[in-house]
Symmetry: C2
Subunit: 235 residues, 2 copies
């Protein structure tokens, strides 16, 4: 008999779950119909909570085991829970989700970081901001302010980079086709992360294809993506 | 009792099958273990052969029906033949192959055209060259010579655009994961098209990940991609 599953999430000052990778797992848990309890951690709570064993969330704790890395968690959920709909119906579907992510990470998510990293800083819990600034500035080799200095131009590139999704979503309601799959959660997770902090709407109003998909995504599983604290994602 | 399947292909002066979309279907037929007879057509043979009903190849003729469009053909093969390995094990796999193609077409294949379109012209059957030039120059709104004028720079962009494939192929032997799937045939088909005509090798010698994948791809199904007429794809 399995014990309850615990999901460790990242929290901002407003209490909102705000990691794109945690959102992937929130949607995955919903698709698998797995109940869980959330543990909300600020950036600086994470190393303390796991005594340095896990440096990022999501982390799940289940039957006495900790699992970090969202891909490992997703595969664990498919192996362990036989409820709901499988996340990866075949090994090819898993591989292709990773192929989509190999495109998405440098072309879309990286540009999001370059538009919104200062917004993340400003939305973080006050006690996390110094750590966030220091760690991200070291990684980006730049002040957060300098990273976002040209963010209007970066946002234009980011919107342009969504072109393959747009092409696809003219043919299918979801990236996964007739039904959402993990690729939808990759993209939705990134948008919900942006929506947790954004001071600049990501999607143009006339980007009807992306906007309609976003609305469908927010409605999934009883509207788990909806939240009155969500900042406008559409200009 | 089904009759034999006929595959209409595009042929160049050297007799080599040279449409990226035909190559997708050649690999699909091999995966499905479906025997077929080839009909090799030059560019200007195509409208004549089909009395204008089909403007491009691949076209298959089976049981008195003509099917054009490589996606329709691939789906037909899965529905009709229950041999070999299914091309799309689930609707999600089909959708995700189309998602990959929605990225591949503008980012990779379009750049290939801008590097190799004059090479295609020069490799076409002599009686096809005027038609090829006229139709492609109308579509590209430029002379073929002007399109390829900066092809060294375009080739650098093209190699850069392969980054997501490289990331993926560091983790998996094939784009489809442990085994090849239709996404491999999309990319291989494009490379074999280039290899039919190229006067400028597509892959850098030190691009070990892509080169190793290409070699694995050429070996598939008894080496159907291998051909002594293949121009060097690796510099």
């Amino acid at each position: 008999m399995s014990g309850p599953l615990r999901l460790y999430e990242l929290v901002l000052e407003n209490g909102r779950s705000a990691s794109p990778y945690v959102w992937r797992i929130r949607y995955a848990l919903a698709q698998k119909q797995v109940a869980y309890e959330s543990v909300m951690l600020g950036f600086t709570d994470i190393p303390r909570t796991f005594s340095g064993r896990c440096k990022t969330v999501p982390v799940i704790e289940h039957d006495g085991t900790l699992i970090s890395d969202s891909w490992d968690i997703a595969e664990y959920l498919d192996r362990t829970f036989h409820t709901g709909v499988k996340l990866f119906s075949t090994p090819a579907e898993l591989a292709m989700c990773k192929l989509m992510d190999a495109w998405f990470a440098p072309n879309v998510a990286r540009r999001m970081l370059h538009v919104y990293v200062l917004d993340v800083h400003d939305a973080a819990k006050p006690e996390d901001r110094a750590y966030f600034r220091q760690s991200r500035e070291a990684r980006l080799q730049s002040s957060l302010e300098a990273v976002v200095e040209n963010r209007i131009a970066t946002l234009a590139e980011l919107r342009e980079a969504l072109a393959p999704l747009r092409t696809h979503l003219r043919r299918f309601p979801f990236l996964g086709g007739a039904a959402p799959n993990y690729t939808d959660y990759i993209a939705l997770g990134a948008l919900l992360w942006v929506g947790s902090v954004s001071t600049l709407p990501l999607l143009a109003r006339d980007d009807e294809v992306m906007c309609a998909w976003l609305e469908r995504g927010l409605e999934l599983y009883g509207g788990i993506g909806r939240d009155p604290r969500l900042k406008p994602l559409i200009e």
